[in-house]
Symmetry: C2
Subunit: 310 residues, 2 copies
Amino acid sequence: MSKITIGHKNPDTDTVCSPIAYSWFLNKKLNLKTTPKIAGEPNKETQFVLKKFGVPTPEVINKFTEGDEIILLDTNNPEELIEGVESTKIIEIVDHHKLVGGITTNEPIKVTLKPLACTATIAWQIMKNAGVNDLPKEIAGIMLCAILSDTLKFTSPTTTDEDKKAVEELNAINNEDLDKLSSEMFTAKSDLTGMSTKDILTVDSKIFPLGGKKVRISVLETTNPQNALNMKADLLAEIIKMKAEDKSDYFFFFVIDILNSEATLIVTDDSHKKIAEDAFGGKFNEDFLKLPGVVSRKKQIVPPLESAIK
Amino acid sequence: MSKITIGHKNPDTDTVCSPIAYSWFLNKKLNLKTTPKIAGEPNKETQFVLKKFGVPTPEVINKFTEGDEIILLDTNNPEELIEGVESTKIIEIVDHHKLVGGITTNEPIKVTLKPLACTATIAWQIMKNAGVNDLPKEIAGIMLCAILSDTLKFTSPTTTDEDKKAVEELNAINNEDLDKLSSEMFTAKSDLTGMSTKDILTVDSKIFPLGGKKVRISVLETTNPQNALNMKADLLAEIIKMKAEDKSDYFFFFVIDILNSEATLIVTDDSHKKIAEDAFGGKFNEDFLKLPGVVSRKKQIVPPLESAIK
């Protein structure tokens, strides 16, 4: 039995770094004995961030132990959690996603949800309100990177003034060149070396119930979309396979060009094309649909797809 | 369509005053146009508080209009809300109850839950963190009263240091004599004039699913328990009637002597007596079970009853 800070499966930089930072806060300021863990291997961007700031990679776990006390960061969705969560005690939640409603508790707990781009921003606000003024350089650094990652360096429409302010406050400690740091992070994220097609399709992948259908939506954020687009044939074959394994109705894969703020949608067949054209307008060129300005799954991809499927 | 701050049905002082205070904050500081409303007639304690600080009683409503935008205070439980909530848009929740899990949203919203005695404490913390330093006297007054009410002037085991600190900070504005103010509130609360037995049994009444059974637990907080205890025969008759109407399995009614921190449990039959003796120890004297020190349904009544029923 232990106290664990942890995020969602298919971990991204926010869901790895926020639990590390929040664990520091809980231990140092509230005298809890928590340990950050991660629900899957960190991606290359996250590896770069942890290495840059000299922060050890948390232990990867794939199930909880009965009686574990859990502090959830960056999710309030039981379906995004590793196995065994029903036998744990959830003692706090910090998140920036919509309220999914699947988690109940036996007693009152602390829950902090805000509609910001990044959980690390909320975590920082909680720390600041608690009077924290001695954030270690490495913790400030990884929180800062989480926000740069989730906002695509402030270009994503999910970005709020509160996220920008948090970056400013956090970077007062390290004084990083944010353009350079973002560029290094996004280059690391764009390195597909050693990744299988399945790895590429699951870097950031979620299944949504949309209009009564089960819909997988994967995104790949990259500074070099051509690397992935060149693999089209292999990706399409893998999508067909994964869709059958999932028993999902649709699978949409978006390669997001971070530098040029443009998504390219890849689909396997005409039924997907029809929905996508209804959702986004435009016409497919072979199996590609270019979507200028589209970078956010939450704000720009899920809502139109949901309307089109309905 | 309008923006409404509102709490739960069977309103108590917190669930009336917190929406009034939070509406002031949202309108004044965030330029929202919200109106506080209440989900039932205010009780005598609440009437006293509003009158004392010259705050108008909010409109009582019993259903929402489609498209209303709702800010929920003091509940996150759809079953405690008035009709029509499913056709509204919930845009924020501030609460101190356990996470019930019944509410989902289509997009990220602000949710602030904390395990404190009173929602008004959380509302005040949010305002303070937002830089509020010009709280009107009457708003400070009613928030302060909500906390005194929910903590039974700091005697309830639900009381936290954060609740006490909030009272201190809020009372810096009015400089009320807290002993006198609490005494006046609790006297108002204890006035049963004009109340039917059903009114008395529903001043503060909730139905809980406990151990697979449907259990109604009503409490009456009073400085004069004898007033209610003298009505035993009428109360028992009404309990039997309400239990049949509810189709509930059990009905426990606790008269809580606020001044002496003692509850007296009244039940209708031996099956209830058996469970109560298992839960709390002690023996019934006729239909009364005295429970010294018991004042909190949340902390001292529901957990032992749940264990006994299981």
